[in-house]
């Protein structure tokens, strides 16, 4: 077992302890649980919605609603798998509610900024976020989970309730789509 595996096991053990106490009604345990995961919640929401105001909304909704939703967490999977699934679904719902127009086709995409070598880091991030936000949902989610957040194929498959092969396939398509869009900017 590697150092990272040991650390992951320890984190999962702490999560289980906190979840157990939170489900028994201990608000301090719930707060600690949120503190441990708030940045990941926010980042996943931000990368899936592509908008900081939307990410703020999703983060707040998740923090408020998870307290009661914890009762529905069976504990058969890792807490993070369940949590990230909640965040992904809520982010997609939020985006659908607030941007009801269909996903743009590649031909409709207007360039936001060119990924030139000279662009400052902030511009590169904005260009990347905009491109990711334009991916179809089923490509965007595995890309955010694996490519951006560094989760394994197995974790992403568990979160999205698909197979590892499906995650790999969608991730490959997402990368190809992104690359095509980046190329259209130059």
């Amino acid at each position: 077992m590697t150092g990272t595996d040991v650390e992951r096991d320890r984190d999962a053990q702490i999560d289980r302890w906190l979840v157990g106490r939170a489900r028994d009604g201990d608000p301090a345990a719930y707060e600690e649980l949120i503190r441990r995961h708030r940045d990941r919640i926010y980042r996943i929401a931000l990368r899936i919605t592509g908008d900081t105001a939307d990410a703020d909304d999703v983060t707040q909704e998740v923090v408020i609603q998870l307290w009661t939703a914890l009762a529905g967490f069976a504990g058969t999977s890792a807490f993070t798998t369940w949590l990230y699934r909640v965040v992904v679904n809520r982010s997609l719902d939020h985006r659908r509610r607030h941007r009801p127009q269909p996903e743009p086709r590649e031909a409709d995409l207007a360039p936001v900024a060119g990924p030139e070598r000279s662009v400052v880091a902030g511009e590169a991030v904005r260009a990347g976020l905009a491109a990711i936000a334009r991916l179809p949902e089923n490509q965007r989610v595995p890309l955010v989970l694996c490519q951006i957040e560094g989760l394994s194929y197995a974790q992403a498959a568990a979160i999205t309730k698909t197979s590892e092969a499906t995650v790999r396939g969608r991730l490959a398509r997402a990368r190809a789509t992104l690359l095509a869009e980046m190329r259209s900017w130059t």
Partner: protein
Amino acid sequence: MTETLACGRPTAPLVEQVAEGRGQMLDEHQARCPHCRAALGEIERLWEPVRAVAAERPQAPRSLVESALRSVRSSRDDVEYGRIETPQGHTRVAARVVVALARHLAAQVPGVEVALGRLAAEGHRPGGELVPDVEAGVAGGSTAVQVTLAAAYGQDLQALGERIRTVVARGVREATGLEPVDVTVHVDDVFD
């Protein structure tokens, strides 16, 4: 970019190679193939915005999360205050501050895996200020705090409790001016 390069190699694996951070790790063919090297260079350049997003680690706005937690939490903790009198006036310290301090301090003690803080109910007057029954009539305030924790397996838990009591009492005293008259340590679990 075409699906197959002039050298006959498909481009899709090159995209994966760059996306997974292996763009500089050339195999034998790539090391001497100008088509592969040019394609890898081009993909590296195009991939930069995605790499920039992955490298950025924005944090959740703290005030946003705290305000969401406030709507979850019972309001009791928000209305209790410790009170430190001085000739020029007084300083009020919210109970939550003491709780947060105790949690931070306890969590840093070696052997503690995770710690939660709370005010020990018997130390406070319900709905009122933290202290007065302990040192009534003396300038200054006292507080009683409870730390609940999970500890690492294989250590002297009594000694751990003493260390936590010392660290928490000293830290709360130094940071707030309140006197921790009671620090109760509750070891709830041990982790292997």
